[in-house]
Symmetry: C2
Subunit: 141 residues, 2 copies
C-alpha cells in the first residue's frame, strides 16, 4: 500500500471532498487498467456527473501531486494514470484489440542492481511495457 487512495485519507490530509473527487477516487480504486482523462470524463458523464474536462485534468494533477496516482505512458497520444496502491506490476498491451493486462512478476530486479550500480545511476522509477498480441487476438488469426 503506497499511499492509500481513499476519501478518509484525503480528509485526514485536509483535502476537500467534492463530487468529482469522490467519483474519480472510486474509479481508480476499482480500475483494472490505467485510465486517461478522456475516459474518466466520459465515465463521469455516464454516471450523471457532467464535469468540465479541465476539472478532470486538474483532479488528475492534484491526485498525482499528492502521490495517489502515477502517470503511465502507454501511447504517445495521451497520458494514463493509475493508483499507486497497486501491487508492483508491468503491462501487457495488445496492439490488436487494445486490451491491457498486468504482469505481477518483476523482471528487472537483478538487472537493476547489477548494471545500474555500475553506472552510478540511482533508479527512482521504471517503466516496462510489453506490446504484442493477446491470447484472444492470436486465436482469431
Amino acid at each position: 500500500m503506497n499511499s492509500d487512495l481513499t476519501l478518509s485519507s484525503l480528509r485526514d490530509k485536509g483535502h476537500k471532498i467534492t463530487n468529482v473527487r469522490k467519483e474519480v477516487v472510486g474509479m481508480f480504486s476499482q480500475a483494472d487498467k490505467p485510465l486517461t482523462a478522456q475516459e474518466l470524463h466520459k465515465a463521469l458523464k455516464t454516471i450523471g456527473l457532467s464535469v468540465n474536462k479541465t476539472t478532470v485534468y486538474r483532479e488528475l494533477q492534484f491526485l498525482t501531486d499528492q502521490g495517489y496516482l502515477v502517470e503511465v505512458h502507454l501511447n504517445p497520444k495521451e497520458t494514463s494514470y493509475e493508483s499507486t496502491d497497486l501491487m508492483h506490476h508491468h503491462h501487457l498491451i495488445c496492439e490488436t484489440c487494445g486490451k491491457i493486462d498486468n504482469v505481477t512478476n518483476c523482471l528487472a530486479k537483478e538487472l537493476e542492481e547489477d548494471v545500474l550500480k555500475k553506472k552510478g545511476f540511482e533508479i527512482a522509477r521504471r517503466s516496462l511495457e510489453f506490446y504484442g498480441t493477446c491470447a484472444d487476438c492470436s486465436k482469431k488469426s
Copy 2:
C-alpha cells in the same frame, strides 16, 4: 544490424535522396540518444539547412514506415526516434539533467517466456526505461 540506415540502402530501395534525408540519416547514424522532431529541426537549421517543421515530421514518418527508425516514448510531451540499427538496449533517463544513457544488458529472456507464455501473450516489442538520477547529478547533491 536491423535495417541498415544508409544512403545506399535507401537508394537501393528506390527512395529519393534529398538534402534533408541525407542529413537526417547522418544525424541518426551518429546519435548517441533518441532524437525528437524539434531537435532535428533545430540541428538542421544549425547546419544551414532551413527546412519546414512539417518536412521533418514527414521524414520521420517515412523512415519509421520503412523500418529505419523506431519511436521511443521517453516523456509525454513529444516522441523521440532512434535507428533500428542500434544494438538492443534500454534507457537511463536522468530526471535532473535530462541526460540519456544506455544499458545494453537485456531482461532475462527466460522470464519473458515463462510469464508471458502462460498468458498466451505474444510479445512483439518491449519498452523499458529507468528514470532517476545519474552519477554526475548524484555527486552534486
